[in-house]
């Protein structure tokens, strides 16, 4: 492994969803996209809120607020586009509030009581930020606090 490899593995994008900060490995992030139109149509996939068109691709948009916090999050400003759909490696988008930054830091294993989608903790100064495994997060579905009926179609 080269020094470059090591550096890219420890590079993260910090994003804010609701009031919380999370980290994603920078290697998975394709871009931060402006707040383009969200297209909705009926479906039953409770973690998906619709699709956006970005760079001539149709990208699914995951409802990150419901997935992480158990509720929809208002006033998200931009979309973070990343490879996050597990085996499909499909580019997908999650709405974030615009306060994104790059960071490197010491990675520690997650505490035992953390959800399965937290694959580690990034220590930045005094702050500890959960590192997300988006594939596991998406597969786990909306947080139990969402109170949503997952079987209802979503227009």
């Amino acid at each position: 492994m080269t020094a470059g490899d090591n550096s890219s593995q420890n590079s993260f994008v910090l994003l804010r969803i609701g009031a919380q900060r999370f980290a994603l490995p920078a290697a998975l992030v394709a871009e931060l996209a402006p707040p383009v139109k969200l297209h909705r149509f009926p479906h039953t996939s409770s973690s998906v809120s619709g699709v956006i068109i970005r760079r001539r691709r149709i990208l699914p948009v995951y409802d990150a607020g419901s997935l992480l916090l158990g509720k929809g999050v208002a006033a998200q400003q931009i979309y973070l586009v990343a490879r996050c759909a597990g085996a499909q490696k499909e580019l997908s988008a999650i709405p974030v509030n615009g306060e994104c930054e790059m960071a490197t830091g010491e990675v520690q294993p997650p505490d035992g009581d953390r959800p399965s989608y937290v694959k580690g903790t990034l220590r930045i100064g005094e702050e500890c930020v959960d590192i997300l495994d988006l594939a596991i997060l998406i597969a786990s579905g909306p947080s139990t606090g969402a109170g949503a009926d997952h079987t209802e179609a979503r227009p």
């Binding site: 383009v36 139109k37 297209h39 149509f41 009926p42 479906h43 039953t44 996939s45 973690s47 998906v48 699709v51 068109i53 760079r55 001539r56 691709r57 149709i58 990208l59 699914p60 995951y62 759909a85 499909q88 499909e90 997908s92 998406i138 209802e152 179609a153 979503r154 227009p155």
Partner: protein, 177 residues
């Protein structure tokens, strides 16, 4: 954002340019391949061709339509897609299938360049409902799969439900003769 995805950039295009009919159900626009629609009729014009059927197994179907030599089950598209109930005014009689679909109104017919695959993130019933997505007037529109309105199991349930009616119809026919 002004253009639909181009060939080869997203995932592969499915098929080639095709004519579609855009229709509305409960403030949601859908598309269906024009070639899969045999006829569009006003619900008022169906008259005695439609008969109510009493069954609970497939709640989105309340009527059966005798059309030509076929018996078509009439699917309420709003109920099928889980949309709020409306008062449909048109029925799409699908070609070569035992299915007719109640919709609110037709928007127009047009040609689209492609149908794009539904992203894998959509993993529920919508994979049966839709052939894919298309892009019309700055909107992404789901392209419905005609075969998705009634599964083989649902058709079998409905066939079982209307069977008891058959002898009655035959008797009525005999009485009229």
């Amino acid at each position: 954002m002004s253009a639909a995805p181009r060939s080869g950039e997203q995932t592969a295009r499915r098929g080639k340019p095709e004519a579609i009919i855009l229709f509305w159900v409960s403030r949601q626009m859908f598309a269906i391949a024009a070639e899969s629609v045999q006829e569009i009729r006003s619900t008022d014009s169906l008259g005695g061709a439609a008969n109510e059927i009493d069954q609970q197994a497939v709640p989105k179907v309340h009527h059966v339509l005798e059309w030509g030599r076929r018996t078509c089950y009439v699917v309420n598209a709003g109920a099928h897609f889980g949309l709020p109930v409306t008062r449909p005014t048109l029925v799409l009689i699908l070609r070569g299938m035992r299915v007719a679909v109640l919709v609110d109104r037709i928007d127009r017919m047009m040609e689209i360049p492609a149908v794009y695959p539904l992203p894998q993130a959509f993993a529920g019933e919508e994979r049966r409902w839709y052939r894919g997505l298309t892009y019309v007037d700055d909107s992404v529109i789901p392209v419905v799969a005609p075969s998705g309105f009634l599964s083989p199991e649902e058709l079998a349930e409905l066939d079982r439900a209307i069977k008891p009616l058959a002898p009655q119809h035959e008797m009525e026919g005999a009485a009229q003769a």
